[in-house]
Structure formats: structure tokens, C-alpha cells
Symmetry: C2
Subunit: 241 residues, 2 copies
Amino acid sequence: MDADSKGNAVEAAGAKPRRGHGVSTAYDTLKQEILELKLRPGSPVDETELSTRFGMSRTPIREALIKLANDGLVVTLPNRSTIVAPLDFLELPSFYDALTLMYRVTTRLAAQNRTDAEVVRIRKFQTDYAEAVAAKDVSRMIEVNRHFHSMIARAGKNRYYIELFDRLLDEGRRLLRFYYSSFNDELPQVYLDEHEKMVCAIEARDVETADRIAKQHADQIVRQIQSYIVDDRRLNGDIAF
Amino acid sequence: MDADSKGNAVEAAGAKPRRGHGVSTAYDTLKQEILELKLRPGSPVDETELSTRFGMSRTPIREALIKLANDGLVVTLPNRSTIVAPLDFLELPSFYDALTLMYRVTTRLAAQNRTDAEVVRIRKFQTDYAEAVAAKDVSRMIEVNRHFHSMIARAGKNRYYIELFDRLLDEGRRLLRFYYSSFNDELPQVYLDEHEKMVCAIEARDVETADRIAKQHADQIVRQIQSYIVDDRRLNGDIAF
DNA sequence: AATATATTTCTTGTCGACACATAAAATACA
DNA sequence: TGTATTTTATGTGTCGACAAGAAATATATT
């Protein structure tokens, strides 16, 4: 399972790793792998193993793990190994609540504070998303979707909302990944339309409409995740009969 | 200025510091000092100096600083000394906005989800606050105020809101500290009354009232900070004439 | 004298090693 | 056979040291 993952991220021989690139590469790589579920939720993360894998000392690994712990992507058990943060289904209601609120607030603020340049950048992600849908590249869809909404939050220019929202979007990315097998071809089109309306409202500086669409969009996503979970339950439930 | 601060946090000789208490003591102490403005915003934080001061290696100091950086209390300049996060007045509008929203959301949720035990604990902080007001202990007032609202957020039981709110409350603590000289004796009583109404609404599970009081309370605090800043400007403005 | 270059200094980023704490394994005991 | 205790093993927490990078100082050059 992790046999081939060893050594594939080792710096190429002869490369000169700049001072301080150790932590960032470890952090970025691990974050990506956690979000894409290449590292399974709950699985242990061995510092020593990572240090050999990344070809660096344990110190930068350690610092990267602390950052990941602060992002909520990893849980540190004192004196014992740290593990990839589990997907806690009991906390899903909190997640839905916060996600919906942040969708609304960031989209509202974007409609208020956007610059023209930011609208252009948001539209770029929207076309990227459309391409991913056309290509049926689910992985890319999930990633671009995250960037799309993150860009909207940035146009809102509230540092606190941006950080929380990014975190929620990452968590959502893990959830969607977890259930991406049940993705059917209908839903992406709904998202695409909602995104379009959202961009238009932001461009028109129509705060109330932006708010309404954001709420609608959030509800849509929450319903989707919930339906995934129901489907999942049904599969496991078969055994009981 | 920092002459007497050296060595006052060194572990007593002969004490056996448990494994892992290094980072937490450094983290807690530094956090406290930053929030109380004993460490001035923008001032450099030297790892080596701290390691001698706390009587431990640079490694745990480093890890504590990374955590503080993630809390936004410290800014790390690559290959350069890290500094205590400056109070950025340009970001105050964002801060007001987020603080108000979090006041409302957490108080709403507390009214919805509180247990009886939590109401008791919230009331405890309320009486502590009253005592601090009676004793005119501004420092304690600011600290207890933070715990009071943090406890309300905890009663709301949304992890994401709790974390963001705690961070905002800490930032607010620094701001209040910065201007605490202008504290007059009228305002604390207003807060006390509002807190009382807030607890009653939470106890009665009256979500709408809780929301209204929270907004009112947030506006009150924002106005206070703003008036402080206006007074501050006026002082500096005199030079221009 | 002013600018450009070399040197020194100082702090961070990284390393390898060691000691401690916890879990798992092995043993003793009822 | 099941439970309590000791032993081993594995991985973390901490340390001291070294090297790289940037600012500050000194030196050289026009």
C-alpha cells in the first residue's frame, strides 16, 4: 500500500534545496496527499519514515506536521505517533453550519468589495471548472471548485473569513473525495449553473442575490454529501438482513 | 525594558519538567505575554534568547513559535527573526465584521445547544467579571471577559466557530490592552448588564433575543475601540497645528 | 567623499544523536 | 486459562552543534 509511495518525493540528486524549502515541500506534499486521501484518515504518520522518504532530517518534518496539526489535517497524540485527522461524522452538522455561513458571508463580501481584476480571475476558474466537467475529470473538478470559492473569498478581503473558509473547503474536499465514486454526471452541471449565477451577482455587486445563491449552493452541497452518506449506509446495511 | 524579564520564567532548579511540557510552557507563556502586550507588537523575538530564558533547547522554542505563527500572534520572516504580530489598523474593519458575526453565531448556537452545566459555568465567569469590575482590576476584566464569551462559544459546540472566535477574542484582548489607559469606569457596567441579558437569553433558549443582544454587545465593543482610536488620533493630530 | 566590494557577525534552518514514554510482547502467577 | 507484572521495542521529545543566509561593518577603488 505504501511500498511504492516511498522515495517518489525524494529530491533529485544534485538538486540544491534552498534553505527553508524543506518544511514547505514536506508540508505541501503531505497536505496534498491528505486532501486526496492518498493518506487515509486515521492512518499513522511516522516522522522517521517521512524523514527518510523526503531525504531530510526529522526537524523540518516535525515543523510541517505542527502546521498540519494547526490546519486540523493531522492529530498529534502526545508521545505517540501523529495520525491523519479522521473524518468525524459526528461533527458533520457543525461543518454544514459553518460551511453554509462562510459561503454566504464570503460571497456577500465579494459582491461588495470585488475589483474588476478579481472578477476576471474568478471567471477563469469558472471556465477551468467547465473544462473539467466536460473532460469528466472528477479530481480536477474538486480541486478547481475549491480554488473558485477561495478566490471569491479573497475578493471579499476579510482575512479571518478567508482562513476559516479555506479550511472548510479543504475538509469538504476530503469528504467529496471520500464519496467521489458515487458522483453521477447530473450534479456537476447544477454546480456549473449556480457558479455562473454567483459570478454574475458578484460582478453586478448585487449583495442580496449573491447571498441567496450562496445559500442555495451550500444547501445543494450539503444535500449531496448527505445523500452520499445515506447511500453508504445502505450498502453497509445490507449485511444486517 | 526587557532586562528584568530575563530569567523570570526559568524552571526552578531541581524541578523535573515532564516530556512535552517544554513547548506548552513556552507557548503559553509567550502567548500570555503577547496578549498582555508585555511583548510589543512588531518587536523581534529571538530564539536563542528565549532558549536561555526558558532554560531549554531551541527546538521546543521553535515549535512554540510555529504554533504562535499559526495563531496569528507572531510573524515569521524567512531566514530572519520572527516578530510579534503588529496591530494592523487597516484590517480593523475586517476584524469588526468577523467579531460581530461570531458574537452573533456563537450566542445563537449557545441558546440552542447549551446544557444546564454550561449555563452554570457561564454564570461563574459572569460573577468573576463582576468582581473584577468591583475591584477595578482592568487586566482581570479583559481576561475574564474573554473566557466568558469563549465559554458561550463552547456551549454552542461548533468547533470551527470556537476556534475562530477564540482567535478574534485574543486579538481583541490585545487591542483593549493597547487602549486600556482610556478605560473609564462607566463602560464596564454596560458590559456587565449586557452579559447578564445574554446569559438569561441563553438560559431561556431564546435564540432571537440572544442574537439581538449579541449584535448589540458587539456594536458596543466596536464603538468603544473606535472611540479609543479617535482619541488616539486626536492626540497625535495636535502636532500638526 | 561616495560608491562598490569584501568581511564579519549574528540568527536561523538543518542535522545526527540520545533519553524518555508509551505500547506491545513476554513472562510470572493465580 | 485468564490476569497481573516485567521486559523489550519503537518512535517521540529534546539537545548541542554546524552551516547557510542576510544584515552590519569594514575595506578598497574611482
